[in-house]
Symmetry: C2
């Protein structure tokens, strides 16, 4: 037990998450992943590597914003509902004074016209086109370059590409764009007790569940997960898989083997395979206290607890910022909404706590219900939740009725009022 | 112009979006897409088709929630920091009174033990293990079935599968799950003016940009888009592509050719290829007024404006609910946050308006800045925005300083305070 007690002492000196993360990032000096050119059909949720400029004005010409008639605004002077002016209709693209030509939304404005009157404000009669309003010059005209001017930035570097960005990129005439390569994240589960769904569990064995969860978290952020499998609690087995991960990935995540007591092999192996190895272990964080941050061959290695909830919180706090750096993003916050706590929840002084909560909406107000769960291994405390409330380390619990900020990771339900 | 004027009159009788959508849904009577079984590695963002039950308790056995020693709580009575009790350490799995056995987080509790004391609350001495606290029976034990009991629902039907759901599914020993098949959505752009990025634009031509945008919107919701290409403003060309879409897809979206004036071919062709054809056209909605809802061979056909912003709003209002029905979901709201309008914005009485806004956070408060844009074709009014404010039809504009609800579709930036 000598080793365990020594480690225990190390663990009791817990590090604040901010201090730990900053130390890790400072030593790592991560560079943005290099660029890769992909088709816009594959670009959803990728991150633009550099500014996308407009080569030409968008729109490329003055065009009509409505269905109606192109004309000269000067000809409309004095027109009203009671006193229409009458213009001659022509199909020519060369308009003269007192003439109008039919035009549909999106059509280029004829050279000599400057305004478009909506069809609703006109009437065709035997004597010509009656126009019932007057408009200023340029009325109902989308000007050349009004959306983006030639040479201007259409999409800024490090934009996360959403469908509306795809529309703009496409409208600028691009069918491929430069994005950051997907960071490749290796994921290794460790533990003699772990089996897969192909196995029949014996007593003491559990189905491994962290790899698919962490893969999902990586995919959501635009990374490519690499499954490094399950390692036994065995130095050489862990070492071999970790080396493979470090060689082939931009970062590696491990789960299990980080508790104070348990064989505690992962940090030991990490320290053997590279320097500086583990730089922080033991966080003033609940759950996820046993999380460790390491660096091997200049690459980040995140040592997570085997408990799924602790693992998800450890990823949230430490892996997201790493991935954002690799993509060149400053930070992407989860959506944050405020709501009223439906009951008090205890937290421990000196530990930043990620409370799992369920937010629901009732009478146009948000209520925040803490999910009760005894252990950090209770996965259903996550599946019943749709957000986190982060309680700072200097608080000892949160009060019923308190207004709190929730970081959402799921859908908010609307509850019908019974009254 | 006879036809156009006739249609114009039809258009002037605009339908409220709720009434239009309900009419469409009522006639459609959509069924949930059938089930398909997929690997959990592919299940992220898919929708569970039916309840996933636990075949066994989770956890499958009483296990330790901490690193420490398994023992009998009765032996701890009276123990304190000043007066430890002393137990004999054993490695046996059969504990007797006054004995304790080392145990790590996740290990099964030995048969005869009932409690675990944390390593921090003990000390190994020559005479045995000193224990400094007393705990109730079951202390630090994760009970069998405490997460999910055998026969209970682990994941409820129509859950959108997120990483934490994958963890639970996996922990239950499943490696494949039943999800709703991806709805297949055909997307057709129409318009003689449209070209692709492979073409060199002549005057009056524009790069088609709606298909990739609508494909992205479909993918985000878990659908499979099918690109039906670009049709010329030509009945037989549109007809042929629409028939192909209807045949191969669960729903079809068209863009362009819906304005009052413009060749107006899409609704005409739709009415020719099937009944009831177009059931509503012209919405009390801004932008996206010219949107049409149709039904062909029992399948929904959404006729969108060619203007990208109108198309995105038309999709938001009418296609999302259709897709949710196909997936079996009631509704998935975008995250909604409240904020203060930084300036007034005009809206037209009698039209529900989707204002594009940029929400930013400053001094822990949310501010909502309306994006100024003249036309519905200004795509950068979307790329500069991160949310919509929906202004109801009975309002005429929104006031500076008003508290509004924003439906978020992008990331909220935190602005540093200069003071």
């Amino acid at each position: 037990m000598g080793i365990s007690l020594a480690r225990l002492k190390g663990f009791q000196k817990l590090t604040s998450t901010n201090k730990a993360l900053n130390k890790w990032l400072n030593i790592l000096e991560l560079q943005k992943c290099e660029e890769t050119i992909i088709s816009i059909n594959e670009a959803l949720n990728r991150v633009a590597f550099s500014d996308i400029l407009a080569e030409e004005d968008l729109p490329r010409f003055d065009k009509s914003a409505v269905d109606g008639y192109a004309l000269l605004s000067i000809d409309m002077i004095g027109a009203s509902q009671y006193k229409p002016i009458i213009l001659q209709i022509t199909d020519s693209n060369q308009l003269f004074s007192k003439q109008a030509t039919p035009i549909w939304t999106g059509n280029p404005i004829p050279n000599t016209a400057d305004t478009v009157v909506m069809i609703e404000n006109t009437k065709r009669t035997k004597s010509g086109l009656e126009v019932y309003i007057q408009l200023p010059k340029g009325g109902n005209v989308s000007k050349k370059g009004e959306d983006v001017k030639a040479g201007e930035v259409g999409i800024r570097s490090v934009t996360r590409i959403k469908p509306h960005h795809l529309a703009l990129i496409s409208a600028l005439g691009c069918n491929s764009i430069k994005v950051s390569r997907k960071p490749k994240i290796g994921i290794l589960a460790t533990g003699n007790e772990l089996i897969t769904s192909k196995d029949t569990p014996l007593n003491g064995q559990i189905f491994e569940s962290n790899r698919v969860m962490l893969s999902g978290l990586c995919k959501e952020l635009g990374c490519e997960p690499l499954d490094l499998g399950i390692a036994k609690d065995d130095s050489s087995n862990i070492s071999e898989k970790l080396r493979m991960g470090i060689k082939n990935c931009d970062a590696v995540i491990t789960t299990g083997g980080t508790s104070v007591g348990k064989l505690d092999l992962v940090p030991e192996v990490v320290n053997k395979i590279g320097t500086p190895g583990v730089i922080v272990q033991g966080m003033a964080l609940r759950p996820a206290m046993p999380t460790g941050l390491a660096i091997v061959e200049g690459k980040p290695l995140l040592i997570l607890s085997g408990n799924p909830v602790a693992a998800i919180i450890g990823f949230e706090v430490f892996m997201r910022p790493i991935i954002f750096r690799m993509l060149g993003l400053n930070f992407e916050s989860r959506p944050i909404i405020k709501g009223i706590l439906t009951r008090k929840a205890p937290t421990r002084l000196g530990r930043k706590t990620y409370l799992r909560v369920r937010v629901f909406q009732k009478n146009d107000e948000n209520f925040v219900e803490p999910i009760s769960a005894r252990g950090s291994s209770v996965i259903s405390s996550m599946t019943r939740a749709n957000g986190f409330v982060v309680v700072p380390a200097n608080r000892e619990g949160v009060r019923e009725g308190e207004l709190v900020s929730v970081q959402l990771f799921g859908n908010v339900e609307k509850i019908k009022n019974d009254v």
